[in-house]
């Protein structure tokens, strides 16, 4: 069965680009433009989503807030969350890890690193 990844980014061209990249590798994708929308999609379809790949800096609900919401909600807390972001502040990374983040992919990424991290996050949670 194909794995489904929920891609969250407020910047449509990046979101579409990431989705297309993932689709070419055989993943199903869903899109959301901010944390609140993503959380709604996730709670509605939580059975079918294998990974949340989200930006860090977004309006309304940031990636970090989304991560906390997911990890605090038992219904969806098992879904691994990966940040895809240009943010690289080690403190932010550490607190995200403590909040249950699976991987932090820095933009711009190399596609090998990108897929290795995603694959690793999906299989190891």
């Amino acid at each position: 069965m194909k794995k489904t990844i929920l891609v969250v980014d407020d910047f449509a061209s990046i979101r579409d680009f990431v989705c297309e990249t993932l689709q070419r590798k055989g993943y199903e994708t869903l899109g959301a433009s901010n944390g609140n929308e993503a959380f709604k999609v996730l709670t509605e379809k939580n059975e079918s989503i294998n990974l949340v790949l989200t930006d860090y800096n977004m309006p309304d609900c940031t990636g970090f807030e989304l991560l906390k919401k997911i990890k605090e909600n038992p219904a969806v807390s098992k879904v691994p969350v990966v940040f895809l972001t240009t943010e690289s502040n080690p403190d932010k990374m550490r607190s995200a890890k403590e909040a249950g983040l699976s991987a932090w992919i820095k933009k711009p990424y190399r596609s090998e690193t990108f897929f290795a991290q995603i694959e690793n996050a999906i299989s190891n949670g």
């Binding site: 061209s13 990046i14 800096n57 977004m58 240009t86 711009p108």
Partner: protein
């Protein structure tokens, strides 16, 4: 990289252009309200998104610029820096360039554009100056957030705790590759017989700080053990000895003892070098701090200071006067010193009030953009000399007149894109603002490459309205100057944009009030240029004190070329203007103050001719006697004298009497009429 843009890049460009508009809006809000956090967050986030997108779609130059600027705004967010006009305008300028660049259809042209480099440099400089500033104010202890990246060589040993091969698909393999990309690196991999990794030894010379390097391994903490060893704060790969040292470990594991030894040895030679460099650097940054640190001072305080200094200048003149009959070397010495110091004080205090006209330029950029949109015209705005400094008051007073001129350029000057095309011009019109200093004037030239002013229609209208006689013969200049006449607008229809509010007559009036000059040049089909010349200082001038009969006048020193004494009889008796007086073997039109205003008493034997150059034309002013050079504070004359505009103002002399400050240009205008 492909030259044509792929669909993703195209979509990015579209999105980015929208984002840039949002960014503009945020920046303008922030400029209006520097303390507000909502626009600050918006600006930061937008820049961040642009950075991410740009990096992702291969426009690293845009990404890097956005990154530098984002860093600056991050400092603001953390409270380590204030929003300043300078910050806003470098950001606006930088992203304007990005916007221009994104119009390009060729992806590789965008990615390889050199044009962002200057802006990047400016942003980096700005960051540096902020850092120096915060270092100099280290006592507040809040500067820990600004850590300067420094080059260092690390030795990093990564030992996987789970079984993996160096060509496997574990994220760690790729993390190590990512790490290598942070600088100059050499990685040695030691494997067991089954090809699984024992450890990677990475030598890395990078400007990335250790905490950030550590963050790379944050999410694989359970799968490996990492040892960090910062060898030296420099690039060891620069030393051949070090490279040879590493090479011997291709097959055998790195011996930490041998490593320590060689680092110690290299450190001794490197330290000498860096000590020198650091010294040079600190002296350079010291200088920088001197140039670039700013404090905010209330305008009122500066005005007070200027007022007191002007009083001091008058007093100093009085002192010279009062002591002139005392024959004492000591007193002369003191008064001379005092004179020198007052004059320096005056110069410094004048500079305090000067600010770059950059703020105006930023305002105009928005104006041009908005206007050209409303009018469906394509207009580029270019500015040159935005760093030219002007009195802050003058800048404020000039904003409106200049906005009016720019409006006229776009509304009446620049043709529609279609018309321009038919005329063989580029669709984009250009409005250019050029500012520069010359002697004690600031020059501002606003020009466009539009259709120019139709002189016939100006003249026709002026005749229709009875401003000039129907049979009048006017020079080009005179015709063009008619547009400054109250109530003469060349636009046949009043548009929304110009033709309302202030007219060109008001523009001229405002410039006159500032003792400035405005002239206009226009070439049909080629465009119009308006030259504004404003005095640097509004109140303190240096002048030559002269006497005619019993009245004293001051002639501003900055226009004077030379002084000659000739026989009074040389001037023809009844005319106050003599066109051909020979002075210094040249003929010179001379204006005699005596003949014009004091013709009743007996004439002196000689007259002093002051040669001045005004607007590029040499003329002479004849006076009875020259009394000396002085610096003086100009006071307005009051409403009664409002129409005597050849007198710029008055000043109080050392003996308490009054002298009139002449405005040479207007004096000659008077003589021509």
């Amino acid at each position: 990289m492909l030259s044509a843009m792929d669909s993703n890049q195209k979509r990015f460009v579209e999105d980015a252009l929208d984002l840039l508009n949002e960014l503009d809006e945020g920046l303008l809000q922030l400029e209006a309200n520097p303390q507000a956090s909502a626009p600050l967050e918006q600006v930061f986030r937008t820049m961040h998104t642009i950075k991410g997108g740009a990096n992702m779609f291969g426009f690293e130059n845009i990404g890097e610029l956005a990154h530098q600027l984002e860093t600056l705004y991050d400092l603001v967010r953390q409270g380590n820096m204030q929003v300043s006009d300078g910050l806003i305008s470098i950001t606006l300028h930088a992203f304007d360039k990005v916007r221009d660049l994104l119009q390009e259809k060729d992806a590789s042209k965008i990615a390889n554009a050199e044009s962002l480099k200057d802006h990047l440099k400016i942003a980096v400089q700005f960051l540096k100056s902020v850092e120096t500033e915060s270092v100099s104010s280290a006592s507040n202890g809040s500067n820990s957030a600004i850590t300067k990246d420094e080059l260092a060589t690390f030795f990093i040993r990564v030992s996987p705790t789970i079984s993996m091969t160096p060509d496997g698909n574990h994220p760690l393999v790729f993390i190590i590759q990512d790490l290598e990309a942070l600088g100059t690196a050499k990685t040695l991999c030691y494997k067991r017989e089954d090809a699984t990794v024992i450890h990677w030894d990475i030598f890395l010379s990078t400007t990335t700080a250790q905490p950030e390097i550590e963050s790379y391994f944050l999410f694989v903490e359970n799968e490996c053990k990492v040892e960090y060893n910062k060898l030296l704060a420099c690039d060891l790969f620069g030393a051949d000895e070090f490279k040879q040292f590493i090479d011997q470990f291709e097959t055998t594991p790195v011996s930490t003892e041998a490593l320590q030894a060689i680092v110690k040895k290299l450190a001794a030679t490197v330290e000498n070098k860096t000590a020198h460099e650091e010294e040079a650097e600190s002296s350079a940054t010291g200088k920088k701090k001197f140039n670039d640190t700013y404090i905010k001072v209330s305008k009122r305080k500066i005005d007070d200071l200027l007022n007191w200094i002007s009083e001091l200048i008058i007093l100093q003149a009085q002192l010279v006067n009062a002591t002139s009959h005392i024959n004492s070397v000591e007193i002369t010495e003191v008064t001379e010193q005092l004179e020198m110091i007052t004059s320096r004080l005056r110069d410094t205090s004048l500079e305090i009030g000067l600010v770059p006209i950059e703020t105006l330029v930023t305002k105009f950029k928005r104006l041009v953009r908005d206007l050209s949109k409303t009018l469906n015209k394509k207009v580029n705005f270019l500015s040159e000399g935005a760093e030219t400094e002007m009195d802050k008051d003058v800048i404020e007073l000039m904003a409106e007149p200049m906005i009016h001129i720019i409006r006229n350029c776009i509304d009446h000057g620049i043709e529609s894109p279609a018309d321009r095309k038919t005329l063989g011009k580029s669709e984009h019109g250009t409005v250019k603002l050029k500012a520069f200093n010359s002697s004690s004037y600031v020059n501002i030239i606003i020009s466009d490459d539009g259709k120019g002013i139709n002189r016939e229609s100006v003249l026709k209208k002026a005749i229709e309205r009875g401003l000039v006689a129907a049979d009048a013969v006017l020079t080009e200049e005179e015709t063009l100057n008619l547009i400054f006449h109250p109530g003469l607008s060349t636009a046949s229809a009043v548009s929304d944009v110009s033709g309302r509010g202030v007219g060109m007559d008001v523009v001229k009036q405002k410039i006159n009030d500032l003792r400035g000059y405005v002239s206009i040049k226009s070439m049909p089909g080629k465009g119009t240029s308006i030259h504004i010349k404003l005095p640097l200082s509004r109140s303190i001038i240096e002048g030559l004190l002269v006497k005619v009969e019993e009245t004293r006048y001051v002639v501003p020193l900055n226009v004077i070329d030379r002084i000659d004494r000739i026989a009074y009889d040389t001037l023809i008796r009844d005319n106050h203007v003599n066109k051909t007086v020979v002075v210094n073997e040249e003929t010179l039109p001379v204006f005699s103050l005596r003949k014009k205003f004091h013709n009743e008493t007996a004439a002196p034997k000689t007259t002093d001719i002051i040669s001045v150059t005004v607007n590029g034309i040499k003329k002479g002013i004849a006076v009875d006697r020259i009394e000396g050079k002085m610096q003086t504070v100009m006071k307005p004359l009051g409403d009664v004298y409002q129409h005597q505009d050849f007198i710029a103002g008055s000043t109080i002399l050392g003996d308490g009497s009054l002298a009139l400050v002449l405005d040479p240009a207007r004096l000659f205008q008077l003589s021509e009429n």
